[in-house]
Amino acid sequence: MISHMAAPTSAAPAALYRPPGPLDLATALEPYAGPWGVRQAAHLYRRAGFGGSPDDVARATGAGMRASVDGFIHFAEASALPAQPQLDDDRPNPGQRQVLVAAAQAGASPQSDAAIMEARKAIGRAHRDNMIAMETWFLDRMIDTPAPLQEKMTLFWHGHFTSAYQKGIPAKALVNQNNLFRANALGNIRELTLIVSQDPAMVRYLDNAQNVKAHPNENYARELMELFTLGIGNYTETDVRESARAFTGWGIDRDYNFRDFPARHDDGSKTFLGKTGNFTGRDIVEIIFTQPAAAALFAKDLLNFFVYSDPEPALIDAVAALIRKNDYNLQPVMSVVLRSNLFYSERAYRALVKSPVQFVVGSYQLFGIKQSDNVALGALRRMGQILFLPPNVKGWDGGSAWLNSQTMLTRENFASSLMAKMGNAAWIQRATTSMDPSAVSRALVATILQGDVSPASTANLTGYLNGNNVSALAALSGENADERIRGAAYLTMAMPAYQLA
């Protein structure tokens, strides 16, 4: 089954990307009281948000740790952002449905090819338009939100409780699901799990709509435990079968609303994780969250997403205990994590790979660009992260999976394309008024990378800005000087530190 893990040559140690050095468990979750400067503020913005603008980071630097974390944890009002994208109707209308249903039935009299093609094309077009509209909507929210952690958590949940724009799920249902993640971003994990279990897109994506008493479908029950809450090894195949019975009858109606169909429900007795009763899906979720493994799974996923990869088992236990102590309410948990010694430790610093979405959104924020475009969508596709189309129910693997030569070239090409728009950024104007190559290069590495480069790279950048002593920056005409500075900013974004969060 886990075939490749058995191969001696490719058996990856579990802690391959755990930062080096010892974990000080006793103080790890205690409040951080060390130095606070642009380095820490930018780190907070990269993790709790997507990077932020230089002004955002400067404000957080001045405000101090406590106030800055409060600003992330207590979401600002975001109602000025569009609550949903403009969508086309992507479900077949009655006429189209008739054509397609007949066409799919073997032996039926063949429909006219033109009618079939027309119906398929219309739906395909709506599907493509909706895909672009949804991706753009979510990206633009992330770029422009006054509540970055709310959007970051929404992205986290999108990769955790995955559903995809496939299997005939209407775009509207996926947008609704996304808004559920947003509304429960730092809410109660157990409640969100129940909400997701009754979410129409999820009910369709993992086939619970087909889970009926006469023919139980185990897909949702299995993934709920394997991927969403407990992890392999913390339940049995019997638990899968029994909980699938409990979820029978949770389906969707013609209008794609959730509906509990009592006639399809198996109301017999079930035995699940050691308890016996006439359980429904609601009971199953309650029982799952009495298991310590549930808190441990969320602790591990949150640490991997917000702190560093491959966290120590003892650290997972400590965060799991914090989650249980707060009865699965996430806001107080994240409040502790984002203020902790652990979070601001050198071991956590730049210890994560920026996801493609973070790379794109953070770059837009850096240059004050408010709206994404097709270049961004194409780059995300080539980097392997298409919003509303995670590769499978496991979501995006993240970490080293984001790193190969193709994705790296795409990052650099995206950064280069962004330079056409960077002139609007006020900080660039300020940083370059002097036209002094060394001042400009210092400003670029300070603003884009918080100085996380070698002295040699800064010197190289200065040399580039200075035209390698052949064509000095100050001697260039406005346009050429601009282009030189754009080039220098692009090169700064190609450096390794910029790939890391």
Partner: protein
């Protein structure tokens, strides 16, 4: 273990930046054990090719019952025996078959077939029907095959996104859609000077520690150098065959160019599609099968002219086969088992496995007769000469189609 080797390789690569182009790849191609020059090419039929109209069971009456408008007539079939034959669009491919250069494995699939394009393709690519694996089966092969870490082209996907089949834990695989356009779109890097740019992107003398830093630096360096070197490394290659003027033809031409330039490449990936023929299947599938046959025929002619045909094995796969009964719109819906072609190299031509019965269907689909992991095990053990159990799981005996 491998991770250390990877990082060391990256470090040594960095130290040599600035040497003459292609130094590493060329040096590597000239070393190695006798069988180290074997190449595997996988061809992905994107969208789910209809196996029944590819290898046609014209001797099974049920075929004509289920395919009233789509069936290939007995007169048109390119006969292999009294039961099956090839689609007439595959004529150049049938010529290869008649020369003993093609093995056809019939009825290939896996238990509890999935009918989603995404999931079923992922199953074929990861060889893991029962779990969500994070690496492809050929990625795992690369991880275990002691690939020289300084070689930028151990494996090449002719595609603009790295396919999952080649996702490895430790080997960086280049995804190249075409030579033109591979690499940096900006010439900003050029104005800086090559060495300085490399020093930039591979800078790891930084004021922070990150468990990902060495890997980022190394892959950035790979990407830069790969994009720069590849066009020069393959520039000396002259094709000796005329390929179809199609994306697939161009992809195969590039694959032959990479192989013939002896960069040490062991695995290549090429794709053709889309075979997702829910409506008016014939026109689409005919065009694609002809493209495949013409392309593969040119590919092996080109390889033979360069003396490379014996060291290149090609294998096909698809999302799934298609439903036995055609639908009402002269198309077919998603199905299960389908044939797999294994071409060239040391292949022992002929038919392998049994054609699935059309009289004992499972919910309208054929029951597979050969597990796809047996085909992979064959290629791994007999061609690439690696144990297969760690890659596709234990218990999949190789088929006798390779010496």
């Amino acid at each position: 273990m491998k991770r250390n080797a990877f990082l060391l390789g990256a470090a040594s690569g960095l130290a040599l930046v600035g040497h003459s182009d292609g130094f590493f790849a060329r040096a590597l191609a000239q070393t190695g054990a006798p069988n180290d020059d074997r190449v595997l090419v996988v061809v992905y039929f994107q969208g789910g090719n209809d196996g029944l109209n590819t290898v046609v069971p014209f001797g099974m009456p049920a075929y004509y019952k289920y395919r009233p408008t789509l069936a290939v007539t007995q007169n048109d079939v390119l006969r292999i025996n009294d039961t099956v034959g090839l689609n007439p669009q595959l004529k150049p491919f049938k010529d290869l078959y008649d020369k003993g250069q093609v093995a056809i494995v019939q009825g290939v699939g896996y238990p509890n077939p999935d009918y989603s394009h995404f999931r079923s393709t992922e199953i074929w690519e990861t060889a893991a029907p029962d779990k969500y694996a994070s690496t492809g089966w050929l990625g795992r092969y690369l991880d275990g095959a002691n690939m020289p870490p300084e070689n930028l082209f151990n494996a090449v996907a002719i595609a603009d996104v790295l396919p999952e089949v080649l996702v490895a834990d430790h080997v960086d695989v280049a995804a190249i859609a075409q030579l033109n356009g591979y690499g940096l779109t900006s010439d900003r890097s050029k104005t800086l000077g090559r060495d300085e740019f490399h020093a930039f992107v591979a800078d790891n003398n930084v004021p922070f520690r990150s468990p990902y830093l060495a890997q980022v630096a190394s892959i950035e360096d790979h990407a830069q150098r790969g994009a720069e070197e590849l066009p020069k490394l393959v520039a000396g290659y002259k094709p000796a065959a005329t390929y179809p003027e199609t994306p697939f033809g161009h992809s195969l031409a590039l694959a032959a160019q990479v192989i013939g330039s002896k960069l040490g490449t062991r695995v290549l990936y090429v794709q053709l599609g889309s075979f997702d023929t829910h409506t008016t299947q014939k026109a689409t599938q005919d065009r694609l099968l002809a493209d495949f046959a013409n392309g593969i025929s040119a590919f092996y002619a080109d390889l033979a002219a360069h003396g490379d045909d014996k060291r290149v094995l090609t294998m096909t796969f698809s999302d799934f086969g298609r439903r036995v009964a055609e639908n009402g719109s002269r198309g077919t819906d998603h199905g299960s088992a389908a044939p797999v072609f294994v071409i060239g190299g040391g292949v022992k031509g002929g038919l392998y496995g049994e054609h699935p019965s059309l009289d004992a269907l499972d919910a309208g689909n054929m029951r597979f007769t050969t597990d796809f992991r047996s085909v992979y095990a064959t290629v791994l053990e007999k061609w690439l000469q690696r144990p297969s159990s760690g890659i596709v799981g234990p218990g999949f005996a190789p088929l006798p189609l390779l010496a």
